[in-house]
C-alpha cells in the first residue's frame, strides 16, 4: 500500500484542528491580556489620552508616592494577614475534619462530606451577605447565640470595627472554603493503603501515632498543594470584601486587599480617577507576588517533599 507509508509523514492536520480552538481562545483572552497588561504597566496616558512610555515610572509612583504607596502597602499587609489566617485556621480545621472522616469506622461520611462542602459551592457574594446579616447587631442573631453559651458580653459589631473587620472577614472566608482542603486531604488519606495502617497497628502504634507518624508524613505533598492553592486564591480574592464592604474596603481600608485595591485603582473611587496604567501596575505586582509564591513553592518546597506511589 503506497498510501500507507505516506500517511505516516503527512502533515498532522488533525492535531492542529484539535488544538486550534482552545489555543486561540486561551491565547486571546488569557495569555495576551496578561502580557499586554504587563506592557501597559510601563505606560501612562498623557493629556491627550495617548499612551506614552514611562519605564518603571508607574512602579515608582506605586511604591513611593504617598497617595499610592500607603494604600498599596496596607492592602499587601492585609492580604498577608488574610493568608496567614487561612493557613492557621482553615487548613488545620480541614486536616482535622479530613482525618476524622477518613477513620475506617465512621458511618455516614457521605452526609458529613456533602454538608461540610456545601458552603464552598455557593457564591462568595451570597455567603458574604448571609454572614453580614447574621453578624448585624440589628438582627441580633449572633448575640442571641452567644447568649445561649453565656458569652453575650463578648459580642461586638465585628464587621464594623476597624480592629476586627479583617479577621472577621477572613474567618468567614475560612468557613466557606474549608471544604477544599478538607476534600483534598481526605482524598490523599484515602489513597494510603489500609495495609500500611494495619502494619503500624501490628507494630503497636495507636490511632494517634498512626496518624502523626505514618499518615501525616505521607500527605505532606498534598498539604503543600493546599498551601499554594490557598496562597493563589487569597492573593486573587476580591468578591467577599466587595460584597460585604464595597470597593472602599472599609472601615477606613481596614479590609483592603490586593484585589479591592486593584479594582479601585483601575476604575477610580471618590476623587481619584481610574487609571489603566496604574491598574496594570497593581495587576503586575499581584502577578509577581503570585508567581514568586508559586516558584518558591515548586522549586524550594514541593521538590523536597517526597511523593509516594503505593
Amino acid at each position: 500500500m503506497p498510501g500507507f507509508a505516506k500517511s505516516g509523514k503527512r502533515f498532522p492536520t488533525h492535531i492542529v484542528v484539535f488544538l486550534a480552538p482552545a489555543v486561540i481562545v486561551y491565547t486571546l483572552f488569557m495569555i495576551y491580556p496578561l502580557l499586554d497588561s504587563l506592557r501597559v504597566s510601563f505606560y501612562t496616558p498623557d493629556d491627550t489620552g495617548a499612551l506614552s512610555f514611562v519605564g518603571l515610572g508607574n512602579y515608582e509612583t506605586l511604591f513611593f508616592d504617598e497617595n499610592w504607596s500607603k494604600g498599596f502597602w496596607n492592602a499587601l499587609s492585609n492580604n498577608f494577614i488574610l493568608f496567614a489566617i487561612h493557613m492557621l485556621v482553615q487548613n488545620p480545621i480541614g486536616l482535622l475534619l479530613a482525618a476524622l472522616l477518613s477513620l475506617p469506622t465512621v458511618r455516614g461520611r457521605n452526609i458529613y462530606r456533602t454538608a461540610m462542602f456545601l458552603p464552598t459551592m455557593m457564591s462568595v457574594v451570597i455567603i458574604g451577605f448571609v454572614w453580614q446579616l447574621i453578624l448585624n447587631p440589628l438582627w441580633g442573631v449572633a448575640e442571641t447565640l452567644l447568649d445561649i453559651i453565656g458569652m453575650v458580653d463578648y459580642f461586638q459589631p465585628w464587621l464594623g470595627q476597624e480592629s476586627t473587620a479583617l479577621v472577621t472577614i477572613s474567618l468567614i472566608s475560612v468557613w466557606q472554603f474549608v471544604g477544599i482542603p478538607m476534600m483534598l486531604i481526605y482524598a490523599a488519606l484515602l489513597n494510603i493503603p489500609e495495609e500500611l495502617t494495619e502494619a503500624a497497628i501490628i507494630d503497636g502504634a495507636n490511632h494517634w501515632q498512626v496518624f502523626w507518624r505514618i499518615k501525616f508524613p505521607l500527605i505532606l505533598p498534598t498539604l503543600g498543594i493546599v498551601s499554594i492553592l490557598t496562597f493563589v486564591a487569597n492573593f486573587n480574592a476580591f468578591d467577599l470584601i466587595y460584597a460585604i464592604k464595597g470597593g472602599l474596603a472599609g472601615p477606613n481600608f481596614a479590609t483592603d486587599i490586593m484585589g479591592t485595591f486593584f479594582y479601585r485603582v483601575l476604575f477610580g473611587f471618590q476623587l481619584q480617577m481610574g487609571s489603566n496604567g496604574m491598574g496594570a501596575t497593581v495587576a503586575a505586582m499581584m502577578f509577581l507576588i503570585i508567581l514568586t509564591g508559586v516558584i518558591i513553592f515548586f522549586f524550594a518546597v514541593q521538590r523536597r517533599l517526597l511523593r509516594h506511589s503505593f
Binding site: 493503603p193 494495619e198 502494619a199 497497628i201 501490628i202 503497636g204 502504634a205 505514618i214 517526597l306 509516594h308
Partner: protein, 359 residues
Amino acid sequence: MADMKLEGVYKSYGDVEVLHGVDIDITDGEFVVFVGPSGCGKSTLLRMIAGLEDISGGDISISGERVNDKPPADRGIAMVFQSYALYPHMSVRKNMAFGLSIAKLGKAEIKTRVDAAAEKLQLTELLHRRPAQLSGGQRQRVAIGRAIVREPQVFLFDEPLSNLDAALRVNTRLEIAKLHQDLQNTVIYVTHDQVEAMTLADKIVVMNGGNVEQIGSPMDLYHRPANLFVAGFIGSPKMNFLPGTVVSVDGSSIAVQVAGSLSGTVTFDRPGNSCSSGDSITLGVRPEHLTAAGNELSGAVEVVERLGDVSYIYLNLADGERLVIAESGTTEVAPGEKIGCNLDPASLHLFDADGKVVN
C-alpha cells in the same frame, strides 16, 4: 512456648457467616500453612489471629493465654503483608525500628536488633535506602526483617510471594524455609498456591468455603486426602476422577464398576463400611499412578505435553471422560493414537456420594 489454639472460631459480617467454627491446634515451632481457593476465609482467619479483625465467636489463645481482646501489638505476633506494607517515607532501618521505637525500647537495643536482622537477611548495605529504591525481593526481605526484630512468638505471613515473579518466588520460598529452620519460630502462612503449601509446611490446613476441609502433614494430604476437595486441590496436575457404581460390599472388599471400563469391575481390599451396593461412587487416581499400558480403560490421545523429565498424556475415554497420565521421561505416544491403561487398586482413592473418602 508459643503453641496456639483456635477453638470454634467463627466470623460473620452482619448475617453473613464467612467462617463456620474453626478448630486448629498448633504446636510450638510448627510451620502451618492455610491453603485454599480465594474467598475460602484463610486470610480472614489470619487477620483474626493478628487482631486486625474482630472475632465473632470462639477463642484464640497463644501460649495458653486467650488473646481475643488483646490489641495486635500485645499478642506476640508479627505479620508480613502481601504488599509488604513498608512505610514509604522511612528508610529501611526506620521501617524495621518503627515497632521497637513505639514499644519504647532503648536506642542501643533497637540498633543491635535491627543490625542483627539486617545481617541475617543481607540488608546491611540497604539500611539507609527507602522502599521505593528497592527491588521486589529486597522489599520482601525488609518486610520479613521488620517482623524478625520484634522477636515475636508467632510469625504471620499473608500471601507473601504473590507479588514476586516466578523465579524470585522459588528463591524466596527457599529463604523462608531456611529462616524457619534457623529461628524455629511458630509460623502461620497463608497462600492459595498448593505448591508453596506442600514445600513449606509442617502442617497444612486446607480450607474451603469457610470450613476446614482437612488438617495434616503435606504427605498425609497427598496420600490420604479425606475428601474430594482436598484430593482435587493438592497435587499437580490434578487427580483424575472417574464415576463408578458399587457392585458389591462384603466387609473386607468392595467391588466397583467403573464407567467406561472394558474389564468390568475393580475390586478393592478395604471394608468400605459406609457403602452399599448400587451407590454411586467416585474413583480418584493421580496421573503419576497411571501408565500408558493395558486395556482396562482406553481412549484417543488428545494432547501430549513433554517436559523432558515427565510427559503428560491427555486421554479422551470412550464415554467422554478425560484422563491425564504422567509418564516419566519422554513418551513416544502421539496425538490421535488409541491407547489404554490399567487401574491399580492400591493407588486408587474412593469417595462416596458426599465426597467423603471410603476406606
